[in-house]
């Protein structure tokens, strides 16, 4: 019994020593924090990082996914900045939605400079859809109907006024010559409820992310009038026209990625950055990303940092234009 225990102890110690030696600079207990309940987009982002880093053996220790929901990332942001600023184990998922809320001052007293932006692993794009039997065949039809009588077209989406989904419709309304305040907009909770309302005929148009719309599109239940991307998407979605080519200059990417705490050392930051860089260069990663319905958008380190800060400034400008900033602060 004692011998056995001593042997077991010896085994564990040597195993510990081994991992410590072989994994240079690797954090001992890697963790991906999904700032939402299980099952949503943040969860998928974390699972993507988990599979990508572990399948390619870039992490030796298993990576956990933990959940910290609240305010599209606000709770996690505050926890990391205030309580775990130097925790090199934890990477936290963020999305375009987190950046928009950050820009509107909805993340409490912290701003975009309070964390270290690490890596973006993919992107989704906004879209505007209608039911398959809708009289609106193109974005132009919809915009014309909206201009003729804004009360006839009710938009529905999964976010509040001021959220990404609202912004997309507001930007299109603005380009159609309709003030966003005049448009009828219904806020639902999550994409599922929006789809139900669209299919049930309770709303006439829906704003959302294109990846979520794919199953309904394939089933022939909805028509996507426009994708809010720079150019047409690859693959089957290539037949969906962009808003831009229809004459409405609205582009709305939703990037997905990770940040780490503000006091994480340069070495640890470099380790994570390298790991993501290497993982994202592999063909396996492309496969994993595609299976999660994300489009290519790989960016790490300082270029991501610059991108995020530019986006936040951009969002602040748009929000101010629509009169949303005062409300938030």
């Amino acid at each position: 019994m004692t011998t056995f225990r001593r042997l077991a102890l010896l085994g564990t110690t040597s195993a510990l020593l081994l991992t410590a030696a072989s994994a240079f600079a690797e954090p001992p207990r890697p963790e991906c924090i999904a700032p939402a309940k299980p099952g949503g987009g943040f969860d998928l982002t974390c699972k993507l990082a988990q599979s990508a880093l572990m399948d390619t053996k870039l992490l030796e220790n298993p990576m956990r996914v933990t959940y910290m929901p609240g305010g599209i990332g606000a709770v996690a942001y505050n926890t990391i900045v205030a309580q775990r600023p130097a925790d090199e184990n934890a990477i936290v998922a963020f999305s375009g939605g987190s950046l928009l809320n950050l820009a509107q001052g909805k993340f409490g007293k912290y701003n975009v400079n309070d964390v270290r932006w690490l890596a973006a692993v993919g992107a989704d794009y906004g879209m505007i859809s209608v039911r398959a039997d809708s009289p609106y065949k193109t974005l132009k039809d919809l915009a014309a109907a909206l201009k003729a009588d804004p009360t006839k077209v009710v938009f529905g989406a999964g976010g509040t006024v001021g959220s990404q989904d609202w912004m997309k419709t507001a930007l299109i309304a603005k380009q159609a010559g309709v003030a966003p305040q005049q448009m009828r907009y219904v806020a639902f909770e999550g994409g599922g409820e929006v789809t139900t309302a669209l299919l049930g005929g309770h709303i006439q148009a829906a704003s959302g992310d294109i990846s979520e719309a794919v199953p309904m599109l394939e089933a022939g239940k909805i028509r996507i009038l426009a994708v809010l991307a720079d150019k047409r998407l690859p693959g089957d979605l290539g037949k969906v026209p962009t808003a831009k080519e229809q004459g409405y200059d609205v582009v709305w990417p939703i990037i997905r990625g990770f940040y780490v705490g503000p006091k994480v050392s340069n070495e640890q930051y470099a380790f994570w950055e390298q790991a993501f860089k290497k993982a994202m260069a592999t063909p396996e990663f492309a496969k994993l990303r595609d299976s999660r319905d994300l489009f290519p958008f790989s960016m790490t380190g300082s270029s991501l940092d610059a991108y995020v800060k530019r986006q936040v400034r951009e969002y602040q400008k748009v929000a101010a234009e629509f009169g949303l900033v005062n409300q938030a602060n």
């Binding site: 309940k37 299980p38 099952g39 949503g40 969860d43 998928l44 699972k47 996914v65 933990t66 959940y67 910290m68 929901p69 609240g70 305010g71 606000a74 709770v75 505050n78 926890t79 909805k106 993340f107 409490g108 009360t151 009710v154 976010g159 509040t160 006024v161 001021g162 959220s163 009828r184 907009y185 219904v186 806020a187 639902f188 909770e189 599922g192 409820e193 789809t195 139900t196 309302a197 299919l199 049930g200 005929g201 309770h202 709303i203 794919v214 199953p215 309904m216 394939e218 089933a219 239940k221 299976s291 999660r292 319905d293 949303l324 409300q327 938030a328």
Partner: protein, 505 residues
């Protein structure tokens, strides 16, 4: 006939040895997770999902595992409701109302076995509904827009009138406190923060789990401590563990009605087990509570919510499988799980991957039978939990509750909130406020407000949208009937009784 051929193929999948083992394991884990206060089906499914993935289970096996856990939780939640007066999960809140008094009367075994039976019937009815009517119902659930949901919530509040009982003022006050707590957090329409006092932690509102655990679990612990201090007596146990024929017959109608009701509510995305069990309990009370036995250990008050709760859980598979829209939080996690396997639930699933759909349905039937078989003999074991001394029981409940609350947000703020609400709940209970109406106010309030505002933003403030469709009209009529008919009947009965007395004299 085609349906039955496909169901046969489904059984071929579900009866594979690995799938049977997985279903058994899932049922057991589900029962345990469901029983622990604070941990519900969402936690169970979320914990097992990575495991299923790590074990490289094929998609149908993984789905069977998750579905069995889900079903098991709906069975397990009742156990702690009945024995400890602490609901094991949200769907089991109403079960405590009559289940715990039954246990205190020494009928813990009967309450546990009848609720297991009711759960079984509820699930079976709902699975049959799923097999026969899924595509049809999918279209029906689409007809429910914001206005219809609002009318449904009004109907639910009208049912609440049945709870008023002998303390109308306190019931209404408790419901109002619940309604108030529901408005805390970001306003889902305008994005404005309400009553958050600039705290990030309140930005998503007060978490349901913190409220349930605070008001039920923590306050129950405080009451237990108070009783221990006074040298409270242990609950005695009677020999009978299984319900008898008379009890079976008296609940049969209730169980069937509640099952069907629960199934329909479960089919609606966004209503769910809490609403289903509450409405089933309240209508049953409204219909049968002639002698004022409800709330004091009426066996029908245990059977009704349990049947509805399980039926609603199975019903929530209808929108998930046919529309790809999860009908509950747990099915939402399952949709996420399926997407990891590159399977998108939705209109195409029945034709593209029938083996998954029918394998799942067959597995639900099997897991349901397993759960009944597992739960009946366990009644004896569980009811012995009552004889645990408080110095073991109280820390146990406290520890599990804390873990459950912490698991949601992983912040200590929720723990503080839980304790604060617990102390507040303790005071309210000492003043005999009914906790169940508070919780219903909280749950229904949010849906009531959101759907009202959605409906009005569709119509731009035009109120007629709330009454115009046949569904809203029907629901309003039912709501009015719910409030007016029982008092009228009571008055007539009283008059008849008086007349009879007069005739005798």
């Amino acid at each position: 006939m085609e349906t039955f051929a496909q169901l046969g193929a489904g059984f071929a999948v579900a009866l594979r040895v690995d799938n049977l083992i997985v279903a058994l394991l899932g049922s057991f884990i589900g029962t345990v997770v469901g029983m622990l206060p604070g941990l519900g089906p969402i936690n169970g499914v979320a914990i097992l999902l990575p495991l299923a993935f790590a074990l490289k289970l094929p998609p149908e096996t993984a789905l069977i595992l998750l579905a069995a856990v889900y079903m098991g939780c709906e069975y397990g939640g009742r156990i702690s409701s009945i024995l400890l007066n602490v609901p094991g999960d949200a769907g089991a809140i109403m079960t405590a109302l009559d289940g715990n008094p039954m246990a205190k009367n020494g009928q813990a075994g009967v309450a546990l076995s009848i609720s297991a039976w009711a759960s079984f019937v509820g699930s079976t009815v709902a699975i049959l509904g799923l097999i026969l009517f899924a595509p049809l119902l999918a279209n029906w659930s689409l007809a429910f827009g914001p206005a219809e949901y609002f009318a449904l919530m009004v109907f639910a509040f009208a049912c609440l009138a049945g709870m008023v009982g002998d303390k109308p003022l306190k019931t209404v006050l408790a419901a109002l406190i619940g309604l108030f707590m529901a408005v805390v957090g970001v306003d889902a329409n305008s994005g404005v923060y309400r009553f958050t006092f600039d705290s990030i932690h309140l930005s998503d509102g007060i978490q349901f789990i913190s409220v349930v655990i605070g008001f039920f679990s923590v306050s129950e612990i405080l009451l237990m401590l108070e009783n221990t201090h006074r040298g409270g007596k242990l609950v005695k146990q009677t020999g009978r563990l299984i319900f008898n024929l008379k009890e079976f017959m008296s609940t049969l109608g209730t169980v069937m009605r509640s099952s069907i009701m629960g199934f329909f509510i479960g089919v609606l995305p966004g209503a769910g087990a809490t609403v289903a069990s509450a409405m089933a309990y309240m209508t049953t009370k409204r219909m049968h509570d002639k002698e004022g036995t409800f709330g004091k250990g009426d066996i029908r008050g245990v059977a009704a919510p349990e049947a509805a709760n399980n039926a609603s859980a199975c019903g929530s598979f209808v929108p998930m499988l046919t529309l790809g829209i999860p009908g509950s939080g747990t099915t939402a996690v399952m949709v996420g799980a399926l997407s990891l396997y590159n399977i998108t639930p939705g209109p195409m699933l029945f034709t593209q991957q029938p083996e998954i759909v029918w394998g799942l349905i067959a597995a639900l039937l099997l897991a349901n039978i397993m759960l009944l078989v597992m739960n009946i003999p366990l009644v004896g074991v569980f009811s012995r939990m009552l004889s645990l001394p408080n110095f073991l029981l109280v820390p146990g409940i406290a520890a599990v509750s804390t873990v459950g609350v912490y698991a949601v947000h992983a912040t200590s703020f929720d723990l503080v909130l839980m304790v604060v609400l617990g102390v507040f709940g303790y005071m309210l209970r000492k003043m005999h406020f009914p906790m169940s109406s508070l919780i219903l106010g909280f749950v229904l309030g949010e849906m009531l407000e959101q759907n009202l505002r959605r409906a009005l933003s569709i119509s731009n403030g035009e109120l007629s949208i709330l009454f115009n469709s046949p569904i809203t009209g029907g629901l309003w009529l039912m709501a009015i009937a719910m409030v007016t008919v029982p008092p009228l009947l009571r008055r007539r009965r009283r008059k008849q009784a008086l007349a009879a007395q007069a005739a005798q004299v």
